[in-house]
């Protein structure tokens, strides 16, 4: 056994916790998870059945932690997991799973298959079977602080230009602020208008907020690649910054997995509760709306629909807030079929978008999103995740669909009552 395979098998054994063991024990092999996975529904290939993607982990569980599995192994009646098999499974675990969690929703015995994929990635990464794109992103996240190599001077330049050109104030390292805003590198590079949008909204609503120069990055490559040590280190950086600035809450930006990582996995990763609250930007904006602090004017006339990012809606529980917000700025808001907690993934989450090898498959399975959009004849698509946003644009382009995609925060900001304007019109 090679050293890397040994590390991988060891990591698999470590990854098999109580929930994973009970999930494997209770699987009834019904195959329902297949029909919940867009990689299966759009290809018809049984290898994309979610539970099948877990086969290496299942075999280690059986051989190490079950009586009959140990018996079979002792008498040479079962084959150990090999490096070649892990190589074969790498594409199933990383390219054809976005950890969207739709399979977990339909499992009749309640198995959280997405969680098991996440655990499987721990072993795959330890064995050296992770995509190059994710390896590079994780390395940059640890060494630079951003998976895309965004350094503080670049963010400072974005902030300076927004302040100079639009007369906005973007507080950095403001101790005692109520909120500390995180940003994703995708926002800083592709959608910096998000920063301007929150600055405009918070100015109007008189919100006390700041950005930390020491931990502005929201994304967590450790979660995506499946290395808990990296995931924990990245969460700890945010915790340290939030505690140093003594903020009451940390705001996760328009990024799906960032929210799941800091809100739901964060405390477990670092092994202690946070001293601050974590909120998604949609939750904060909807709270401001409820309190009457979000004053908008006019409405979008085109037929708009909303794409629920999986980690924010299904895995995160933020379902009503974006709809409440859209309803104040959209005249003709329509829901796609299966919208909300059973929405179909854009196909690019869970690190798939960072994995160039997966591009062809990702665009193929976008056909599911196309069907959803066709059903409502949407003229505009709004979402709350910059990763979803850019890969929705790619998918729409691939399928020749002329539908503009916008972020919800900036859509709200475009309807703010600016100084000197009246109220609702």
């Amino acid at each position: 056994m090679s050293a890397s395979l040994e590390r991988g098998i060891h990591a698999f054994k470590e990854a098999i916790d109580g929930p994973v063991a009970s999930f494997f024990s209770s699987c009834v092999h019904c195959g329902l998870c297949a029909h919940a996975c867009l990689f299966y529904t759009e290809t018809g290939d049984p290898k994309y059945t979610p539970i099948h993607k877990l086969e290496p982990l299942r075999r280690v569980w059986k051989q190490e932690y079950t009586f009959w599995g140990r018996y079979a192994r002792a008498f040479g009646l079962s084959k150990p997991v090999t490096d070649e098999e892990l190589g074969e499974w790498e594409t199933l675990v990383y390219d054809s799973c976005t950890m969207c969690g739709r399979c977990s929703m339909v499992c009749p015995v309640g198995n959280d298959i997405a969680y098991m994929i996440r655990r499987t990635r721990e072993g795959m990464a330890a064995a050296g079977h992770a995509p190059e794109g994710l390896i590079g992103a994780s390395r940059r996240a640890v060494t630079i602080g951003s998976p895309m190599g965004v350094k503080l001077p670049a963010l400072e330049a974005q902030i300076r230009h927004l302040e100079q050109e639009a007369g906005l104030t973007i507080p950095v390292d403001l101790e005692g602020a109520d909120y500390m805003c995180l940003l994703s590198s995708m926002e800083i590079m592709n959608f910096p208008e998000y920063i301007g949008a929150i600055a405009r909204i918070f100015k109007q609503a008189n919100v006390s907020w700041t950005i930390s120069s020491e931990a502005f990055e929201a994304t967590n490559s450790g979660i995506q690649i499946g290395v808990s040590e990296i995931a924990a280190e990245l969460v700890q950086r945010v915790v340290d910054a939030a505690e140093k600035l003594q903020v009451k809450a940390v705001i996760s930006p328009e990024c799906g997995h960032a929210y799941m990582a800091i809100r739901w996995e964060g405390p477990n990763l670092i092994g202690k509760p946070f001293s601050f609250q974590v909120m998604h930007i949609m939750e904060v904006l909807d709270q401001l709306r409820e309190e009457g602090r979000l004053k908008t004017t006019g409405k979008e006339k085109q037929r708009l629909t909303y794409h629920d990012p999986c980690q924010i809606a299904r895995r995160g529980g933020v379902l009503e807030q974006p709809r409440n917000l859209l309803n104040i700025v959209a005249e003709d808001f329509v829901e796609m079929p299966e919208a909300g907690k059973m929405n179909w993934c854009c196909g690019a989450g869970g690190g798939v978008s960072a994995n160039e090898r997966a591009d062809e498959l990702r665009l193929r399975v976008f056909n599911r999103k196309k069907s959803q959009l066709d059903a409502v004849r949407a003229e505009g698509l709004v979402t709350a995740c910059s990763n979803c946003r850019i890969y929705l644009e790619e998918g729409l382009e691939e399928y020749h669909m002329d539908i503009p995609v916008t972020g919800l925060t900036e859509t709200i900001a475009e309807h703010l009552v600016e100084e000197g304007e009246g109220g609702e019109r």
């Binding site: 230009h161 007369g167 592709n190 301007g196 960072a354 850019i390 382009e397 900036e410």
Partner: protein, 150 residues
């Protein structure tokens, strides 16, 4: 003579333009930052956006080309960022905004084209480290004033 000296006046003046004139001035904003984009597809579509008498099908074709360019050159999630290439991406996005029908673009095409053009200039400042580069907003005020007064 129209004068514009701040963001509120700028937005108000843009909002007062009809769809054709929004597109025309948006094209001027894009042209001002065009040297930052080395993708040869953007200059011709910007010329289309600048024309007043352009048929709908030509506009739609130009919009498709601009969108394709944008999706071809955005920063990939998790990939090492290149701010020079990002400047080109924002120029392409400005062209998309200019060519998008007015009702489909929150804030209007001209405003969105102006914003994306400014982001392109910010990327240039990040690359060069030279923050003394002229403010694009002021250039845009001048462009709009000239347009309105012409």
């Amino acid at each position: 003579m129209t004068q514009i000296s701040n963001e509120a006046e700028f937005r108000h003046a843009l909002a007062g333009l009809d769809a054709d004139r929004q597109r025309a001035v948006a094209a001027l904003f894009v042209k001002h930052v065009l040297p930052l984009c080395d993708d040869e597809r953007i200059a011709p579509v910007t010329d289309v956006a600048a024309r007043e008498d352009v048929p709908e099908d030509k506009l739609a074709e130009a919009l498709r080309t601009a969108r394709t360019t944008t999706t071809d050159c955005h920063a990939r999630c998790g990939a090492a960022g290149d701010w020079s290439a990002q400047a080109g991406y924002f120029v392409a996005r400005a062209a998309v905004a200019a060519l998008t029908p007015a009702g489909q673009m929150p804030g209007g095409p001209a405003w969105q084209a102006a914003m994306a053009s400014r982001m392109a200039k910010t990327c240039e400042a990040i690359v060069t480290g030279d923050d003394s580069l002229g403010r694009e907003s002021e250039e845009q005020y001048r462009i709009l004033v000239d347009f309105l007064n012409s």
